[in-house]
Symmetry: C2
Subunit: 162 residues, 2 copies
């Protein structure tokens, strides 16, 4: 295993992560590759021009996506004194943010499905002649979301105590 191999593996990993991020975070292809690059590159960061070169993308494309990734709280940058370039990195609290986002999403889902449950209950009352609604799905889903949320809260505490 030499440095060329390592470089090849890096490229491969970025591509693999990129594909995943496209779906997971609903990112455009280049945006996903940028984010993946930052993940693999780590704390030392990577510059705008290096991203343009590495990803064979237009400056405008990279600029736009970097902007978007910053406003969505996924990345940030630091500078070195005497060096005008920006070094982009994933936000140090990305994991916590991610957990918060997922939790919020699940909470919203719980709300909706509780409403569905209410709707079905009311409907059963109002139309006693009709066969009643089944509610197992909603109940399972609510259980699912509760369990999952609990797991996340536990984990979040672990991370904070680190």
């Amino acid at each position: 295993m030499n440095k060329t191999d390592l470089q090849a593996q890096k490229t491969r990993l970025i591509e693999k992560l990129g594909v995943q991020f496209e779906k997971e975070h609903q990112l455009a292809p280049v945006a996903a590759r940028i984010f993946a690059t930052l993940i693999v590159t780590g704390k030392k960061g990577i510059t705008f021009e290096q991203l343009v070169k590495d990803l064979n993308a237009g400056k405008s494309t990279v600029s736009t996506h970097l902007e978007h990734l910053q406003t969505t709280n996924r990345i940030e940058y630091y500078t070195k004194s005497g060096d005008r370039k920006r070094y982009f990195i994933v936000k140090p609290d990305l994991m916590e943010n991610h957990i918060d986002e997922v939790t919020a999403k699940w909470e919203a889902q719980k709300c909706i499905h509780k409403e569905v449950l209410e709707y079905k209950l009311k409907s059963n009352e109002l139309n006693k002649e009709n066969p009643p609604f089944d509610m197992e799905f909603q109940k399972s889903l609510l259980d699912f979301l509760d369990e999952a949320t609990a797991a996340l809260n536990k984990l979040k505490k672990n991370i904070n105590n680190h």
Copy 2:
């Protein structure tokens, strides 16, 4: 609260669920509305033509999306003897399928991030002069995925014992 109100609430719920499903399951707008309708409608199911009417959509659109929702294992249909119509319902094992899918997705994520971890380790060995890579993010993420997976497995057992 009368039947008109209830109908209005149903429509509202379908729309709300629809928006969510578009992102969550990466469905086209009409596909998401169809799926939402089936969720709210429950076990009694709903026919093709009723969907076309309720959603103000083209027959071809509904047909295509119903096909897609079936091949992706989310819905199915039953028939009543002496009635040619198909009654579409969400798959009874949707929740289990969903859990399996999420678990598989998380497993895949774990694999990739383990590879990233390997890459960083190898890189550290090979370039001892460079500052070493940080790996907290990968480790946190792997913890996250382990916790979450454990929660799901627990839940899945609960559902099966039901």
